[in-house]
Symmetry: C2
Subunit: 338 residues, 2 copies
DNA sequence: TTGAAAGCGCTACCAA
DNA sequence: TTGGTAGCGCTTTCAA
């Protein structure tokens, strides 16, 4: 069986209060008692139960991370960054893959609440704003990463999605493209919407159009849905010479569609991704993509949710918006007709 | 503030015992009391604290997963499978990326112990067998995935690594290769060793050799280390015509090295990976690789650690060994000299 | 300095 | 059926 504080106290011939003191390094204890207690603790291999300590109002040293899917390399990278920074402060990480389904979001959120985690980091889309209020009422710190959470004043770390979209468009426009398409995620995903908006604004400012039928929404199975959507685009009589994909997974789908249909990339179709995951470096051809600084984002969001940062003006949540960066590889080029 | 069982009891005009009854669906309560209590619970948005309930000896509904790195797509897939199956039984998942460092393994293991998780799934290498015994003594169920844990009789789910190595070798031999090399992980990683052993046995049985200088060990930064190792191999006067990589990440490194040095794949160098991650489908050329059934593995290991499977003979731990599968893509071909 | 004791929120046993 | 109550393991007053 597991040793408890009572075992240690008995063995050391002291009260449990004394043992608690040395565990927490507080209070006054004579050096010899402390030493003897410590030695007993080691001997019994005693480790204080975090459950019990949490019940007395202390921390659980657990953070929750809500993301669409841990097997999506982008979120896996975010998770790793969050885990590492949490680890720095002694926290461990509960992973919650939501598939962007409200039902899963809801279930996970209440579960994390019941487990009294010390903070929840949200990196997934969700409709259920009420749930957040509930959590807030239970005074669980919340922070948002890689997403906006409109209508809620939460600490947030994002990349400038709008600007990222503009960068992608600027790059393609600069190459001379005039017929461009977009592969987006579910419309629930705000970052995706922002990227499209930026892309579109830039295109329109250049005096061109982004007709609605050139913008395809996609479901959960990003690669395959992206592939299907791209095939459709490529079957148009006025098929696009370039496609901006709201993440690398969709871009890979587009790449596959092009390959299947014998459409050369980038000669006949330029493809731009988003996220700059490891995937973008290994595709054929390597993907031009908009990069997010995942490591920095993970660090910042953990510090925010744990309020390890310099406290902002009270009542005003911190917002950090990082700059994306365009990484040009070989999946983009001049349109062949030019 | 968060509502407690006392709030509910007071509000409903009953004892906390009654409330506890309806939470756990046990004991006898009249239908009306039950209904009224339930309505009060909803009204107060009461959710029982899992911390408190865990302290009374019930489960924590938390599982720990130790893996080298969640940002490695193979382990991200495993994690997703484990998470989903855990979710089926109402458990959430704490992710622990160890980087295969004993120090991290140790820290995470004791942390999980202090948090009284209901089970730990180990998918990382480790030297510290004593720690496991300690955990076992504290009666935390353990199970191993995608690894062997020699010297410990633990429930285990693996793929037949040895056979996987043989399959890779058979494939390359069948293509006519005679000078082959291996890119392996750190020697601490047993699965890697088994894969090499299988590969080597098959090669030797074919009357060929696998000299030691053709086997390169690699560190934590798999892609880059793989790239470096592959460059070395390609600089040999008797450079190999094929290389078997113990995972897809190493294979990608090899691919990059080949590209950098102008070595054509598969014409001048055939590359075989292992794991069949999403990466293998997007590389240029797509990777021939040995596939592991991650989803099935995740499901099985969760059921094992929760003993949801049909109980084995007591005292005898369950072992499940799944068959790998060779997925032939375009990174392998006949050696050019033939 | 030290320790007795009152919780933390919930479960489970036992008496009413 | 119901509710009082003794813990679960630990923290934290508050006296001694």
């Amino acid at each position: 069986m597991k040793a408890t504080i009572y075992d240690v106290a008995r063995e050391a011939g002291v009260s449990i209060a004394a043992v608690s003191q040395v565990i927490n390094g507080k209070g006054k204890i004579s050096e010899e008692r402390r030493a003897s207690i410590i030695s007993v603790m080691e001997q019994l291999n005693y480790k204080p139960s975090l459950i019990a300590s949490a019940l007395t109002g202390k921390k659980t040293y657990t953070l929750g991370l809500l993301i669409p899917d841990i097997s999506n390399p982008f979120f896996a990278e975010i998770a790793r960054a969050v885990e590492d920074q949490g680890d720095v402060h002694g926290y461990s990480l509960v992973i919650c893959s939501t598939d962007n389904k409200d039902e899963r979001v809801e279930r996970y959120l209440t579960l994390l609440g019941q487990k009294s985690v010390d903070g929840i980091i949200i990196g997934t889309g969700m409709d259920s704003g009420e749930l957040l209020d509930l959590l807030l009422k239970k005074s669980i710190p919340l922070a948002v990463i890689a997403r906006e959470m409109p209508g809620h004043d939460l600490a947030t770390v994002v990349v400038d999605d709008y600007e990222g979209g503009r960068m992608a468009a600027r790059h393609l426009l600069g190459l001379g493209h005039t017929r461009m398409a977009v592969l987006a995620e579910h419309r629930k995903v705000i970052s995706s919407r922002e990227r499209i908006r930026g892309f579109q604004d830039e295109v329109v400012e250049a005096g061109l159009q982004l007709p609605e039928y050139m913008v395809k929404m996609n479901g959960r199975d990003l690669v395959n849905d992206g592939r299907r959507s791209a095939s459709e685009l490529l079957r148009y009589a006025d098929r696009p010479t370039a496609v901006f994909c709201c993440n690398d997974l969709l871009a890979i789908g587009a790449l596959q569609a092009a390959k299947e249909m014998g459409v050369r990339v980038p000669e006949e179709l330029s493809i731009v991704g988003f996220d700059n995951t490891i995937l973008a470096t290994v595709t054929d051809p390597p993907l031009t993509t908009v990069s997010q600084p995942t490591e920095q984002m993970g660090q910042l969001v953990v510090d925010l949710v744990l309020s390890k940062n310099d406290a902002a003006k009270p009542g005003e949540s911190k917002r950090v918006m990082l700059k994306p960066e365009l990484v040009v590889r070989q999946s983009t080029g001049k349109p062949i007709s030019i």
